[in-house]
Amino acid sequence: MKYSALKIFLEGLTGNKGWKPVWREPEPKEEYDIIVIGGGGHGLSTAYYLAKEFGISNVAVLEKGWIGSGNIGRNTTIIRSNYLLKANQPFYELSMQMWENLEQEFNYNAMVSQRGIMNLYHNDPQRDAFVRRGNAMKLSGAGAVLLNEKELRKVAPFLDFDNARFPIKGALCQPRGGTVRHDAVAWGYARGADSLGVDIIQNCEVTGLNLDKGVCVGVETVRGPIKAKKVAICVAGSSSNLMRMAGLKLPIESHVLQAFVSEGLKPALPGVITFGAGHFYVSQSDKGGLVFGGDIDGYNSYAQRGNLPTLEDVCEGGMAIMPMIGRARLLRMWGGIMDMSMDGSPFIDKTPIDGLYFNGGWCYGGFKATPASGFCYAHLLAKDAYHPKAAKFKLDRFRRGDIIDEKGQGAQPNLH
């Protein structure tokens, strides 16, 4: 069913009774070419690109609960390609370019809103680091602008320029950065994949991996065994649990990241703004809520909820740079489980077990990567070859010392 203004008009006249399900609810088949475990953003986009770009549509996406119930359903919706390192930036820029054409492609308005992202800097060393990063962005075609204080005052006059503990000296800006309606991304990919023949199977938790002579040949689920030529794990947050079924340990810890939204307000913020001397970032949704967050709580957790110190730390950061939000009220806070990796960078790789593939370790950067992650994972699954822009996200990189550490924090996940 093609969506359009006309379609809405015609349906409206007939009482909106003619809409069709956005995706089917099929019974699992006995066997698939590829099973994608995890109906989150990355899993759904993987299935979508397998069918669309690589002609493999005998694919099932197995979701424990409802699709989009993972971090795609609980993130702060920011997209950006403002990384520093060679192993990362081209990949995220690919993702950004895919965002820019996504909606027309799968005929679903995910409200990709490129209103810009501004990373504030507060001292000279930070500015130097941003110049280096900005140049990396430009070298990868992402585009970047360095705003000084005077220029920044024009676009964000509400920032606390005159009384801040850590003076605001300027910002590194990516005009193409912005936000996307996160749930719509999951639904759009599901709709696209489904229409290409992919089976999306909800309430189908995977309880085991079936190995035959060291080769992964399928999965056990709460709805019975399902055979597959290849099994693709894509369950960031619970990666360790799935890989444990295959007897493998990961360079990953699961941590809780909290996110927050305020009551609805008339437009108050230009785009995404991040604090460079504390833990706070914020944007405003189309609905009017200030969507904001900060650092992870910092301890291993699978609880999908956090605690007070982080909430307060984040709000302190917010008031430190924009004291006008003092009377905006926090409406809701929630938490998601992050695959925090040992260098802060993700994995898209084969596992030591034939037929078993792994995608995870996205830390809190997974949402923006959704299109490229799915595309490059599909590439690997279809061709058994790394996509050149995701060739460094290997599980064995630490053995070789080929570390991708944007923050320079070393092998301690909660610092990334």
Partner: protein, 93 residues
């Protein structure tokens, strides 16, 4: 969260700094064979259990002790707290 310090009693977790899996106290011998392999696994691989987890916390705003806290990662319930010094006295070479 609250961490019940064995000597100082219940203290808010914000007095502490988290490091990670308690296995980090078992640093391999540098001169054992395949020590590179051992160091890689020690430094980079984690059990990351969903449930009971032994982990290291540092009481930075207290007695500066390193603690092994046994905590459930689903409910956050703290089941046990000990000083590293007290648990691994036997380990002293």
């Amino acid at each position: 969260m609250i961490i019940n310090h064995p000597y100082l009693g219940p203290r808010d977790a914000s007095e502490f700094v988290y490091k990670g899996d308690a296995n980090l106290i078992n640093r391999p011998n540098w001169d054992s064979k395949n020590s590179h392999q051992q160091f890689h696994d020690y430094l980079y691989l984690r059990d990351n259990p969903e449930g009971e987890h032994k982990e290291l916390w540092y009481h930075e705003q207290g007695d500066r002790s390193w603690l092994i806290v046994t905590r459930n990662t689903i409910t956050h319930e703290v089941l046990d707290v000990k000083l590293v010094r007290d648990v691994s006295v036997g380990k002293r070479k």
